[in-house]
Subunit: 244 residues, 2 copies
C-alpha cells in the first residue's frame, strides 16, 4: 500500500444482546483506538443481530468495500453462535471441525478438568481455508479468512485476539510489540502499570488477565511504532514489577 | 401496526471522533434500552464518518429498510456538522434556515448573553418539510423528516431529544410519561432518584440537567407502560424530593 493512502477497515459487531441494550458494547472503542495506533482508517461500524441473513449480507458488503473487516461476537458454544457458519456462507466455502482447533480445545479442557461435549466442540468449527487466531484467555480460537478477522465478543478475549490480529494487518508503519508475563493478578500490578503507561505515551500497554490452570495471572503487551520508546517502556515496566 | 410484529428500527451514529476512538460512543446503549422499553426492535446500528457520501448512502439504505431510523451527531455549528444537509439530500428536498428554529436559538442566546453568528445560525438549517424536535438542554433543535429522526451527538442532549422522539414513534404499547422539574442540580438529587429507580423497576427514570438562565437544574422524566406503576413512582419521587 502507498504510504499516502492508509488501509481502510470496517468492524461488524454481532449480537442480539447489544441491540436489545442488555449488554453495552465495549469493543468498538478499543478496536477504534488500536486501528488508529497502527495507521488504519476505521471507516464504518455495523451492529447486527444473530441472524444469518443479516450477518452474511454485512460480511459480504463490508469485506468487499474495505481492505479489512474485523468481526466480534457469535463464536461461542451456544445455538445462537452462528458467526463462523455465516462467514463460511459469505465466502462460499464449507465449514467443519478444524483439527488444530480441536486439539487446542482438548488440551485446554484437560488442563482445566472441563468435560468435552458437542456444544463446546462447536467452537472448533472453522471455515475451510481459514487461519486460526490464538486466544490466550480461554483457548477457543478466532480465525481469518480472506480479509475478514473473526474474534470473540467478550472484551477480555477480543482484546487478546486483537493483539494477534494487529500483527497480521496491512499496516503502513509496522507496529512492534513486547510481551511481559507479569505473573500476578491484574489487581496487584494495576498501579505500577498505570504509572508506566502515563510515563510512556508513545507506547500502548495492554493488560490481559488469564487463567494459567492455577490462578489468574496477567500478560502485558507493550505496542509502539517507535523501537526506542518501546525498549524504554519495557525497561521501566520490568523495573516496576521487580519492585512490587 | 399489528401487535404480533413490532416496528423495526435502525440507528445511525455519525462522527469521525467515534471511528478514530477519540470519543467513546455512549448513545447506542441508551437508544437500545429506550427502544426495547417501548417495544420497538432495534435491528441494525451503523457508525459512519462525517462524509457526505457515507451519510447519504446510510440514511437512504436504513430508512428504506426499517420502519424508523434514528441518527445521532453532526448537527452542531462547525464546518464538519453536515448531517442536516445530507438528510435533505437523501430525501431530495431543499434545506434552509427554519424560522421557528431561528426564533428558538435567538431567544436562547438572548437569555444566556450569547452573541449570534453565522456558525451558530447553521444549527437552524433544517430540511424542508421537517418537524422540529425540542432540545431542553441547549435549545438547538433536532428534526424529523419522513421516518428519520435526527438528534444531537452529545449524550445529555441526545437523551433529552430521545424523550421527545419516543412520543412520536410507532409504538405498539404506548409509553406514558410524567415530568418532574426537580429544581436542584443533578448532584443534589442523584441518591434519592437512584433509590426511587431501584424501588420502581417497571418505570425508567431519566435525569436531564439543563441551564435555566440562572444555573443548572434537573428535569426528571418517568416513563412506563404501566399507569399504576408510573403514578406510584411519581408519588415516591415527589416525596423523596420534598424530603431533601
Amino acid at each position: 500500500m502507498p504510504e499516502t493512502k492508509p488501509p481502510t477497515a470496517a468492524v461488524l459487531v454481532i449480537g442480539d444482546e447489544i441491540l436489545s441494550g442488555r449488554t453495552k458494547d465495549k469493543n468498538i472503542g478499543f478496536i477504534a483506538d488500536t486501528l488508529t495506533d497502527v495507521g488504519i482508517d476505521l471507516e464504518e461500524v455495523r451492529i447486527v443481530a444473530d441472524r444469518e441473513d443479516a450477518i452474511v449480507e454485512a460480511v459480504r458488503a463490508l469485506s468487499a468495500k474495505y481492505d479489512v473487516l474485523l468481526t466480534t461476537g457469535g463464536i461461542g458454544p451456544t445455538h445462537d453462535d452462528i458467526t463462523a457458519d455465516c462467514v463460511a456462507k459469505a465466502f462460499g466455502v464449507p465449514i467443519g471441525h478444524h483439527p488444530e482447533a480441536v486439539a487446542i480445545l482438548q488440551a485446554n479442557w484437560k488442563k482445566r478438568n472441563i468435560v468435552p461435549n458437542e456444544a463446546r466442540l462447536r467452537m472448533a468449527r472453522i471455515p475451510e481455508g481459514a487461519e486460526l487466531i490464538p486466544n490466550v484467555v480461554s483457548a477457543a480460537p478466532g480465525f481469518r479468512i480472506g480479509n475478514v478477522y473473526v474474534m470473540a465478543g467478550v472484551p477480555a478475549i477480543m482484546q487478546a485476539m486483537m493483539d494477534e490480529v494487529v500483527k497480521r494487518l496491512p499496516v503502513s508503519q509496522p507496529l512492534i510489540s513486547e510481551t511481559i508475563e507479569a505473573g500476578r493478578g491484574e489487581g496487584d500490578i494495576a498501579v505500577a502499570a498505570a504509572k508506566v503507561q502515563a510515563d510512556n505515551p508513545a507506547v500502548r500497554i495492554g493488560s490481559y488477565p488469564y487463567h494459567d490452570g492455577n490462578g489468574f495471572v496477567t500478560r502485558l503487551v507493550l505496542r509502539s511504532r517507535d523501537a526506542a520508546a518501546l525498549a524504554e517502556a519495557r525497561r521501566a515496566m520490568s523495573e516496576a514489577l521487580a519492585g512490587l
